[in-house]
């Protein structure tokens, strides 16, 4: 524990976070759900009742029971265990895709906004044309080119989402680059990469954090779509999307199999969106009261 800070200093980060969560129940709810999900994913090998790929032919399409809380699938695999394992894959996939789009989108946006002129003009047109593609369709095409599989699928989603971040960062950078403090470090002869990294980036980061949170929800839905279509995760591994694909094939025999993965996708996407909207209001004072 550190000594109490004088009142004049801005409150510490943990305190700011606590205040935000106390004021906005949506944010707390979303963050709490996601942390719980992350914890379950990390502890999956220890808390899942069965192995996610263990087949028990006496349990095929077993209804929910004490042995199988959520029943079992068409190969007699425990649905709860697969749901826990699939959540791991789905979350990993979402973070991978959004990580890739941040790695591409943030530098591109910084460069376009900071350099301006014909560089900006060119990059902006490229961003415009990428944004004209229906996202999932382009992701399907990129996956088809790279080869099917979860990692390739998420690289595709990352590439497709990158222009959204680039556009946002560019717009913020246009404002920040004319601020006095950026002008002054430029006058002191600081190299451009250092100006971008140390002075411009930190001042564009808040809207980026918000957008990344919202993109995580979109990436989760994109992963579910690609895996549902057979372009994402490959058997015997499971993600929530591929579990829905199996449930779809057996919809007439065991319709209840489609509820657990669908509800988890819905709740997780909802949690990311709630967190993102709550962050937007907390980080952007002009949004207060909306």
């Amino acid at each position: 524990m550190s000594a109490p800070a004088p009142a004049a200093l801005p409150p510490s980060l943990p305190r700011l976070v606590l205040n935000w969560l106390r004021q906005d129940k949506r944010g707390a709810l979303g963050l709490g759900f996601l942390l719980l999900l992350a914890l379950i994913s990390v502890l999956a090998p220890w808390i899942a009742p069965y192995s996610p790929t263990e087949q028990d032919f006496s349990a095929i399409f077993a209804p929910p029971s004490a042995d199988h809380w959520l029943g079992a699938d068409d190969l007699g695999r425990d649905t709860l265990s697969r749901l826990i394992d699939g959540g791991r894959a789905s979350l990993y996939a979402s973070f991978l895709a959004v990580g890739i789009s941040a790695l591409i989108g943030v530098p591109v946006g910084l460069i376009a906004g900071y350099l301006g002129g014909w560089v900006d003009e060119m990059i902006s047109r490229v961003i415009d044309s990428f944004l004209s593609f229906p996202a999932i369709v382009l992701a399907i095409a990129v996956t088809g080119a790279l080869g099917i599989g979860l990692t390739n699928g998420m690289i595709a989603v990352g590439i497709v989402f990158a222009p959204q971040l680039a556009r946002l960062v560019r717009a913020r950078t246009l404002v920040v680059r004319n601020e006095l403090y950026v002008d002054s470090v430029r006058c002191f002869g600081a190299p451009t990469p250092q100006i971008l990294w140390r002075h411009v980036l930190p001042n564009t980061i808040q809207p980026v954090i918000v957008q990344i949170t919202l993109l995580l929800a979109a990436a989760l839905l994109a992963e579910a779509s690609l895996s549902f279509l057979g372009l994402g995760i490959q058997p015997p591994d499971a993600s929530w999307g591929s579990m829905l694909a199996r449930a779809y094939q057996n919809m007439e025999i065991a319709p209840e199999q489609m509820y657990p993965p669908g509800i988890m996708i819905l709740l997780t996407a909802l949690a990311f969106n709630l967190l993102g909207e709550s962050l937007r209001e907390a980080l952007d004072p002009t949004m207060k009261g909306h």
Binding site: I136, G144, F228, M258, L266
Partner: protein, 317 residues
């Protein structure tokens, strides 16, 4: 005077569209560059004959420089030749011509549903701001944005098609053959597609109405004794209808994306099934053809909404 200024705005918008379209075609062609290894060998598949590999090499002109390949492909595409499927050797243009109407029917129907359901809910939410109905509708909108469309489609099929037998479960009927049956087949998938659109329309409409209704101008009308309903109708909705145009342009792009997955659930032979099967089998001419047509449709719709926007909105004019 104002008409010529509007004409100039439209011309500027048209000029801006040109580089976007050219870049989009380049992106579509450059997808080929993402194929790992020797493109011809990879696309030909396992155990392909030397002759087959040579055919594919010739199809894309793979031994020539990249830019020459692109221009050759673009030249053909401009003339409406999108090459042939590597699997069925059917002309890609014919496959798309058969699939596109099914997809378009779904997207248009979903758009109509999104507006028909979303507009009244948005108006009610805005006129009862912060009341329990407003909160309930906004919570509903949050769920609408987060729900996977294809899962909603599965729920609808299992309930309304398999259990209750109200609607056909799968397939599509061309509108020209039997309009009634075509609409019945398209209803459930369009409803599944519309969920996110309903939420989007509701949120946008509520936000812009709330802004207008709390303005000075509207407060004056209140003071003059105009009834709330008249204010909402004459001054709120009239101003908001222009914003809706932008939402429609945006929605069209999203619906065109989401329909790809929803079509799979309802086994509709549309653009989705075409592109997914092609991607699974690395049937690249089909992948490129579908993506190209879809992006051109999106650009055209955005152009159209922008032109309408500048025609109707006095501020832009």
């Amino acid at each position: 005077m104002s008409l010529s200024r509007n004409g100039r705005a439209i011309r500027r918008r048209l000029v801006q569209t040109v580089p976007v379209v050219i870049l989009a075609t380049f992106i579509v062609f450059a997808l080929l560059k993402l194929v790992p290894g020797d493109v011809a060998v990879t696309l030909a598949g396992d155990n392909a004959s030397e002759q087959r590999i040579a055919e594919i090499r010739a199809l894309y002109g793979l031994d020539r420089p990249f830019l020459v390949q692109y221009l050759g492909w673009l030249g053909n595409a401009v003339q409406g030749d999108l090459s042939r499927s590597l699997l069925s050797s059917e002309a890609v243009r014919d496959s798309i011509a058969r699939a596109f109407p099914n997809t378009l029917l779904l997207v248009v129907m979903a758009l109509v549903l999104a507006l028909v359901i979303g507009i009244p809910l948005g108006v009610i939410a805005a006129s009862r701001r912060d009341g329990w109905l407003d909160r309930a509708f906004m919570a509903f909108a949050s769920v609408g944005v987060a729900v996977p469309n294809f899962w909603l489609g599965m729920l609808l099929v299992s309930t309304f098609a398999l259990r209750l037998n109200w609607f056909p479960a799968t397939g599509a009927v061309p509108l020209s053959v039997d309009p009634g049956s075509a609409l019945a087949h398209a209803f459930l998938p369009a409803l599944a597609l519309a969920a996110g659109g309903v939420a989007e329309v509701m949120r946008q409409l509520r936000a812009s109405l709330v802004e207008i209704l709390s303005s000075q101008h509207v407060r004056t009308l209140h003071a003059k004794g105009l009834s709330p309903a008249a204010i909402l109708w004459r001054h709120g909705l009239k101003n908001v209808s222009v914003n809706l145009l932008t939402v429609i342009g945006l929605l069209f792009n999203r619906l065109l994306a989401a329909t790809v997955v929803v079509e799979a659930v309802f086994a509709i032979p549309g653009m989705g099934g075409l592109v997914v099967n092609a991607a699974l089998n690395r049937d690249f001419p089909v992948v490129q053809g579908v993506v190209l047509v879809m992006v051109l449709v999106v650009v055209a719709v955005n152009l159209l909404t922008d032109i309408l926007y500048s025609t109707f909105d006095p501020r832009v004019r």
